[in-house]
Structure formats: structure tokens, C-alpha cells
Amino acid sequence: MFEGNREKQKTLAAFEFKPGKVERGYTDRRLYINLSENKIKERSIDPQVRETFTGGRGYGIWYLWQAVSDKTKWNDPENEIIFCTGPICGITQYSGTGKTHVVSLSPETGTVNDNNVGGYFAPFLKFSGWDLLEIQGKAKQDVIVFIDGNQGKVVIEEATGLNSDTYLLTEELAKRYANDEKDRRKISIISSGKGAENSNLGIINISWYDSRRKHIRVKQAGRGGTGTVFRDKKILAIVIKYSGVNANSNNVANPELIRKAGQRLTKEILELDHIQNGMREIGTVNLFDHMQNYNCLPVHNFKFGSHPDASKIDSKVWHRRMTQNQAGDSCWIGCNLRCAHAVDNFELATGPLKGGKVLVDGPEYETTAGFGGNCGCFDPDFILEANFYCDNYGLDTIGVSTTIAFLMECYENNIINKEITEGLELNFGNVEATLELIHQMAEGRGFGKIAGLGIRQIKKILIEKYGADEEFLQDIGMECKGMEFSEYVTKESLAQQGGYGMANKGPQHDESWLIFMDQVNNQIPTFEDKAEALHYFPLFRTWFSLVGLCKLPWNDIEPKDNKQKYHGMEAAKVPEHVENYCWLFEGVTGKPLTPEELILQSERVHNLQRLFNLRMGFGTREYDRIPYRAMGPVTVEEYESREELYDKQLKEVVYFDIEGKTTEEKIKVLREYREEQYQKLCDAVYKRRGWDVNGVPTLETIKKLKIDFPEVLEVVKKFQL
């Protein structure tokens, strides 16, 4: 696939650096690359920035703030794509410490976006001497950035005429940059694909080498179009090579504390995972059955919460399909949760690699629920094929499946037809049409050009060009702030509606997932309870991205007696794991940390991100509105599918006499009630978070958090009531 060997590729810039020493989890340096100017520089990290924003995504958001203006668009050269590590990143004695956190302006939302992704990149970057990789500018033609962490070299190499799709590219690059088979373990590659070039739904893949399979494996930074930025900058790949990871690569302050936390967690995982979540057996797709059983599985564009055909793609099916040579795989050294799974030798039925036998990473829950439930395609082979091609093309399986589900509902309501779709029959359940649309989105052809824009822009086209009913599209188009919803039905959980609507970057569940605590366990019944949960959990989850951690070992495994020792929201915090994190932070940095201080660290970054949204023109209350489909039944069909439940609520909670009323009348009254509840929730959450009624952090909050820097105050002052 390469036109020539590496020696013949032109080097556009080269930079030598002293391989850095990590001190107590930090290097205090960032690697800055400008692709427009072919410049590579070392930059320091200000001690005040470290003190205020802790690391990882905190650094990423702060330095992106410095790099852009309120006028900057995602595809302007000054936008940056920033790869962040974090002080705990790379620790090998605790599970889930290999995450890279990626920050950039998003093509979908127009504002700051963050993602977390597994693979070896972030630990290798830090151990090479960098807390952060910051890329600005745009190359004139495709380039590869190669970082040799041991030799202390960074080069920008011309890489024209290569197919950007991940699957073959990463294998080729591994061969190219590794001296031999053993050397491949020392390489991590960031790549994307043509889907990211031709749509707003681009992801980046980050690799690690599976030495058992002798194959590159990839994890995804999926939401908000980060891959689209990556390819817009003409980055074909970033390759890092580092050798020498050891138990104390972070040069930690107190190894004993880290060992203590690690041993406690590992014991729980080995004893309890198989009876708790089965992450080691099938990974996140274990959730599928439970979402189906509790009416939370999105079916047919979030209309319904379950489907009779769900058993065709449930966890038993994946248990059989995933190659179970051992308990899962770790996407970073030392992770015992081992939630990474794969299906080997899957024969592709469509697309450019048709007939080829490939390794499919996953599928994860979101992919299965999105393509299976939401698009109504209950076919495991289809899900594997869609999963493979999305990863290969650099497309977000969540964004793509939620968008296609929306288009399917439009098709079934004659809002779009075969003339508009150029022949695609986009009925729910049409696997052939769905796969064809994925290929079209990736290649930027046919109806795929429109589909790849994402729901917000599609709605605009359908309204302006085809005269679609704006109100109906707003109700059923499952996006907020421009980002598509991830795969949970929230109609019966007000707290999760807020979790999606008030999330800084858009409706992705990584800020909060409160469905069961709210809808099933009923542990946060009042507005104040929900507001407390929507204060604490988004902040707690934010912390993982500051220090370089994965969320899963926090609550996808918990001590056997957690729910007996603790109650309600306290139990959901998993206090012993919070203690582990405090030990870890102190063990690495030498700075003692209380659970309250941990939250404070996050609160600074979370508020800065909200202020970033404001700065870009998006952070006020109106942008926290969610489509009514996320709150309640939009259509008669939907209402009548759970008529008993909705009638009961109207009678017993709204005190509305349903006798003799049509379904349309009942929908209207229920809607008024539920929309009012959502607004009341926003009031309660804003108050708890120290924001005003318009959702703007108050001056008092900013000062209390010590983020009252002049440039921050300038933004806040514009919005003071």
C-alpha cells in the first residue's frame, strides 16, 4: 500500500529532545507541533496551571482555550487537537490507567469536546517525556508524525497517496516502524479513516499490539467528530515508539499506597467480576440484556425500550461469538478488568474488504444497542460488519447509528423517500441499506453525504430544502448541542434526562449514568436529590479524565458488601474505590487528597468547560434543552406501547382525568407536565452547581474555585444577570 519505503518519504520537520524523566507522575512539559509551519517545540507547563487544573483533560481544555478565540471554527488552523495523559496515567499496578484524553473544538457542536480512549498512546507519550501533545495548524498534504520516545526524536513525514482507513494502515505502520515482531509492542498508532474525511462523525483509533493474536487492536475516541478534526489537519497517523515501561515509570512518591489500592481492586475483580458484570467475559455488552429487560434499550430511534427480537443479539450470543482464549484483553498493561474483546476471522460481506477475514474489536454495548436496537437490525453478523467498517473508516458507531435511526424514522414517516435517499430503502431493520449507507458516509457519496453531517445539520436540510415539519424533527432528532445521544432510553428517568442535557459536551453518558438509581431504585426521588447526584457524579467522572484513568474499574466492579455497608447515593459512589483513588493520587504525586478535594479538582475543570461553551456562544440554558423523545412519548404509537404506565402517571401524579380522552390529548398533557419537570430539574441543578438561572457559573463560584483568571472573568461578566 505504500508507494515507496520510508526512507524515500520526505521529512518535513525534525526535532530532537532530551527524553524526559517523569517525576511523581508529571513531566511538566508539552510537545507542541504546528503543521502549517512544520514547527515542533517543547513548551513548559506553568505550575499554576498544574495546581489549578491537575492534568489530563484539565490541561487540554486550558491550553485549547489559550489557542483559539471565540471566533475559531473547528476547521480553522488555530484549532488544536490535544492528546492528554495525567499523573496516574501509565501506573501498571492498578486497573484502567492507560487512557488518552483528547480535546479539540468539535465539528458537531462547534465548541470544546473531550473523549477518552484506551490503547498505549498516553502512557508512551508521558514516559517519552510529555504530559501533552498539542497539534495546531494544517498540513498541506497527508503527514505522519513519528515520536521516538527513547531516541528523543520527533519527525513530521510526508505520507501522500495512502489509504487512511485504520485496519490495513495500522498493520502497515506497525511493520514500518517496528524492527521486528517483538518491537511492535513498543508502538502505538493514532489513526482514523476516510469516514472522518467525509463526515462530521469522525473518530480516532488508538492502537495497542495484541501479542497473543499477533495483531493490532484499536480503541476509539468516538464522540463529537475528533477524527474529523484529525483528518482535516491532514494527519494520516501519529506513531509513538517507546521501550522501557516498568513498575515505576512514573517515579512515584509512595509505591506502597499504590500497591495497596491495586491489590484490593485486583482481588475484587478476580473474585467478583464473573458474578457481577462479566467484563472479563464479554465486556460492556453485558449491559444489553439488562437495558432490554428494564425498557431502557433504544429501539427504533428511541421510540421504545425493548424489542422481542433482542434475544438474537443478547449477551449469550456475544459470549459465543467473541473469541474466548482467555479472560478478555487489557488495552493497557496491568488492567485486570480486561474488558477488551474481539471476534476473530470475521468474513466481511460488503465494502472494500469484502471477502476478507478480519478481526473485529468489540462489539461494545453502545454499538450493539445503536445498530441492533435503534436501527432495528437484530442481526449479529450485521452488527459485527457495521462495527468493523465504522472503526476502519474512522466513524463513530454511536453517532452513526443514532443518525441512521433518525433517518429511518424520517423515511417511515415519508419525510424522506427513495428519491432523496437515492434509492436506499431506509426502513427499520434493513441491514443491507444500513451497511450501504455506512459505506456512502465513509466515501462521501450519494445520500451518505447528507447522513454524514449528523442529525442537527440533517434536520436543517430537511426543513429548509424539503419542507419537513420542524417541530416533529426537533422532537425525534436525538441530539443536543449538536451531538447525537448515546444509547439509553431516558423517558422514565428525569435525572438521566438532565445527565444528558446538562453534560458539557453533549448527550454522552460519560458525565453521568443515573438511570437505575433514579428510575428503578428510586434513590433520588426529589429535585434536590437529583441535583445532588447531577452535581457529584459528573464531577467524580470528570476526575478520571484529569488523571488519566478509565471509568470502568470504579463501579463496574464493586466490593461484595458495598451495598450493605453503604446506602443510597453513598453506595453508588463506591466509597472504598474513592479511597483507592485518593491513595493512588497521593501514592503517585505525594500530595494527600481527600474525596472532597478530588471533587474540587474536577469542579474547576468542569466549570472551565462550561465557560468555554459560553465563550463559543453555546453555554446558556437554551442549549441544555433536549428533544421531547428523550422525555416522553412523541407519537400515538409510542404512547400506546406503554399506555398503562402513562395513564397511571396522568391519573396519580398529574391528577388529569383521562376518561374519554384521546391519546393525542393525553400526550399533550403528559408532555406539558414532563417538560415542566425538566425545567424544574435544570433550576435545581444550576443552583447546586453554583450557576445562575441561565446556567452560567456565577462570579462567586468562579472565585471560590480559584479559576478567576482575567480571560475567564471576561467571559463570565458578559453573562451576569
Binding site: 460492556t284 429487560n293 428503578v520 451495598k563 450493605q564 453506595a571
Partner: protein, 65 residues
């Protein structure tokens, strides 16, 4: 009338924990049941009778997304 997770539910005779879980369609494998604050071990679900007025908590230990 009994309460299940704080919500009213009609009581019926010979209602055991096992029957209640089935009626509520609580299929999740990791749940913890308390009746009037008292923890009920899983092996006693079949024989534990819920009486009228009881306050039943069925807490699902699910982490989610």
C-alpha cells in the same frame, strides 16, 4: 398496600420476595432486598413472606454506562 422502592404497590396474600421480584420483572442478577430495613439474603427469597404495609427495597447494583 406495600411500598416497593418508595412506590405504592398492591399487596396480595402469600406474596414472597421471589414472587414480588417476578411480578416487578426485576430480572437483574445482582440485587439486594431489604424489608423494613432488614436485609434478606438471596436464599431466603422463596420463603420470605411480605406482609401488608411492608416497605420493600430492591436495590439493583448496576453500574451502567
Amino acid at each position: 398496600m406495600i411500598k416497593v422502592n418508595g412506590r405504592d404497590r398492591k399487596w396480595e396474600e402469600n406474596l414472597t420476595v421471589e414472587i414480588l421480584l417476578k411480578k416487578c420483572k426485576y430480572t437483574f442478577p445482582l440485587i439486594m432486598v431489604k424489608i423494613n430495613g432488614k436485609y434478606i439474603p438471596k436464599e431466603k427469597y422463596k420463603d420470605t413472606i411480605i406482609i401488608d404495609g411492608d416497605d420493600v427495597q430492591v436495590i439493583h447494583s448496576i453500574a451502567g454506562g
